[in-house]
Amino acid sequence: MASYIISSALLSPQKTFEGTFPEEPIITESLYLLCAEPDYKQIIPPVRLRRMSHILKMGLATSYLCINESEVKPDSVIVGTGQGCTGDLENFMRACSEGPEELLSPIPFINSGHNTLAGQIAMASQIKGYNMTYLQEAASLESALSDAMLLLEEGTSECTLVGAIDEFSALSFKIFDRDQYWRKEAVNNLDLLKAEKPGAIMGEGAGFFCISNRPDRQNIELVASESKMNFGTEASVKWVTDLLNQYNLTTNDIDLLFVGRKGDQLTDDTSYAGIEQLFPTATIAAYKHLSGEYPTAQSFALWMAVKVLSGQQLPAYATLKAGTRGTKTILLYNNDLSTENVIIVRKG
């Protein structure tokens, strides 16, 4: 049985919340990119908003938008988050490690539970079916999507809301800065992929998708969502080629390739050059100069892929190499050095 993406919503450092590709990207000279947030008061009832952390606001607002755009109300919720509710986790960790351990406020503890968002969405939209959260770094979205596909195949669900979310974390920024993970100097994000320097810029975002067992008029099929642990033992190219075979596709079928290049001179080519060469005639697109790097950033690319298959033109500011043909099938490839992750979507 096939799965279809019948709605999508993306909160990101770009003006994507409006639902179309922005004419011009937001240009920032910084070490990180933060979401261009909407006025949450217009979206989330004040009684809920009061105790919500940043990531919960991001996620709940984006889930509302995605559900509103969907022709079918989802019966299940699956969230994939790379690092989880880090903001309140850090707050509570500081409270019990730096202050006296007495009766602390439980609110940040409650909000630090990584499935809090999925629970809040269930409560806010009264979705009482299957409710799952994957906490798995760069493989989180792919686990969530493949679980959703299995739910549809089983007949457990007719429409599942899948979310991918990560928030900016000052602590992660500080910790991972120690191994050349981030840029040392602020950079104009549009020049990120050109400048040959080590490190990425950090980002954040929330991408939500309604996955249904029946297509809507856009007819966008979610073909595959796969992950593999990467211990450097097997060539990425072979894994991707085998996957294509498994789904009865060839390299020629892929018209558009999204790669997770993040502007890191030390790892970008080793992670992506081989895959890019596998598809010599495809259009190649990148997005981490728009989204920043965060574990579930491939959701930014999935949102773009859905827009392209809905008939919007891939913006020049996301195009690394223009191909010559129209776009029917899109492959997304992201490699964070510990896992490799592939999503395939196509016009049905």
Partner: protein, 387 residues
């Protein structure tokens, strides 16, 4: 649809380093809810601590000394190794891995985040998925890997996912479980919520006053009927369900609506009725709210005949690991044809007419229901059956 067999089990908790030791404790009714020796926290509440230092656990895990590992990782590795050994799995090329912990290696990160420069070799533990990747690497697991985080139902949800993957043919064999160790973060959290027991947890007792946190690693090997051919089989995963109560961020509804739904859905998947269940291993955390709502749900569906117990009076509440740990105890109930006593119970709560098992005894055990409920309204029920 493939049948799903349990071919391997492994666990370490406060009541034993391995299956044999824990079985002995379950039979004798010995718990280990004590004051902490290794957990460093100003909150001095009784906990179910595993009575070993990290150095001792490193050696139990078969790793070389002189390296600092996350305690959560060590508990997971010890249990996972035992599960693979009991399943006689040497070829792990097509083995998939599903793992869970509440907050990754928080017992490490909470102690080093202020001075990361002094702990270069431990910084990897800030990655939320480091423990499962390290377990996979250590055990030579190459298949797909998933990590679930739904608070206290995490590893029960892992077992549900593993079962669905095998039933649908998307996996042949899966190593699935959870690991959590005591941490200042979690004991402060439960203390802040005012649901940590000052006297030591007494699930389903009239005078119960909260949770005693515990720590554990617990893993199972699940295989398709075909993959398990010719092997000793401990039991079968027959039923599973997960629903969201959509009621409150941390509490359950007094009637236990979500729990009832999860149990009913699991029975439906298993093609069983309530009367077929021989024993219920309840979530039974020892809080006023959980135990009341769960006993209402069980009472409504099962009446007052089916034997019920919570094993959290032995092991404490092991959070993300409890679903897998209690799955192991459910499988042992089938293998041993015994039902486990509700350890530390003095006076059964008056609001329920459930048939609470006071002391471990022999019984005919064909089908076991195991419940795991998590914050965020997350309710999961699993059904294990004798082959």
């Amino acid at each position: 649809m493939n049948r799903v067999f349990v071919t391997g089990i492994g666990a370490i908790s406060a009541i034993g380093n391995n299956i044999a030791e824990q079985l002995q404790s379950l039979r004798k009714g010995t718990n280990n809810i004590v004051s902490a020796k290794f957990l460093k926290s100003a909150i001095k509440l009784p906990v179910a601590e595993i009575p070993h230092s990290n150095e001792e656990l490193t050696s139990l895990a078969g790793l070389p000394g002189g390296v600092t590992y996350s305690r959560t990782f060590l508990l997971g590795l010890i249990a996972a190794k035992e599960a693979l050994e009991t399943a006689h799995l040497s070829d792990r090329s097509d083995l998939q891995l599903i793992s869970s912990s509440t907050n990754a290696a928080i017992e490490i990160t909470e102690n080093i985040y202020q001075h990361p420069e002094e702990h270069q070799s431990l910084l990897k533990y800030f990655h939320a998925n480091q423990i499962p990747l390290d377990i996979a690497k250590e055990l030579g697991i190459n298949g797909r890997q998933y990590t679930i985080s739904t608070a206290c139902s995490s590893s029960a949800n892992g077992i549900m996912l593993a079962t669905r993957l095998i039933r649908s043919g998307k996996a042949k064999r899966v190593l699935v479980g959870g690991n959590d160790s005591l941490a200042r973060f979690s004991i402060n959290g439960f203390n802040a919520l005012e649901i940590a027991s000052p006297t030591g947890s007494r699930p389903f007792d009239e005078n119960r006053d909260g949770v005693s946190l515990g720590e554990a690693g617990a893993y199972l090997v699940l295989e398709s009927e075909e993959a398990a051919k010719g092997k000793p089989v401990y039991g079968e995963v027959r039923g599973y369900a997960n629903v969201n109560e959509a009621y409150h961020a941390t509490a359950t509804s007094p009637e236990g609506k979500g729990a009832q739904q999860a149990i009913s859905d699991a029975l439906a998947i298993a093609h069983l009725s309530a009367g077929d269940i021989s024993y219920i291993n309840a979530h039974g955390t020892g809080t006023k709210v959980n135990d009341l709502s769960e006993s209402n749900a069980i009472g409504n569906l099962f009446g007052d005949q089916t034997p019920v117990s919570s094993t959290k009076g032995y092991t404490g509440h092991t959070l993300a690991a409890c679903g897998a740990l209690e799955a192991v105890f459910s499988i042992l109930a089938i293998r041993e044809q015994q039902v486990w006593g509700n350890c530390r119970l003095l006076q059964p709560m008056s609001e329920t007419s459930m048939n609470i098992v006071k002391e471990t005894r022999s019984a005919t055990v064909n089908h076991v229901l195991s419940n795991s409920f998590g914050f965020g309204g997350n309710d999961t029920s699993l059904i294990f059956s004798k082959i």
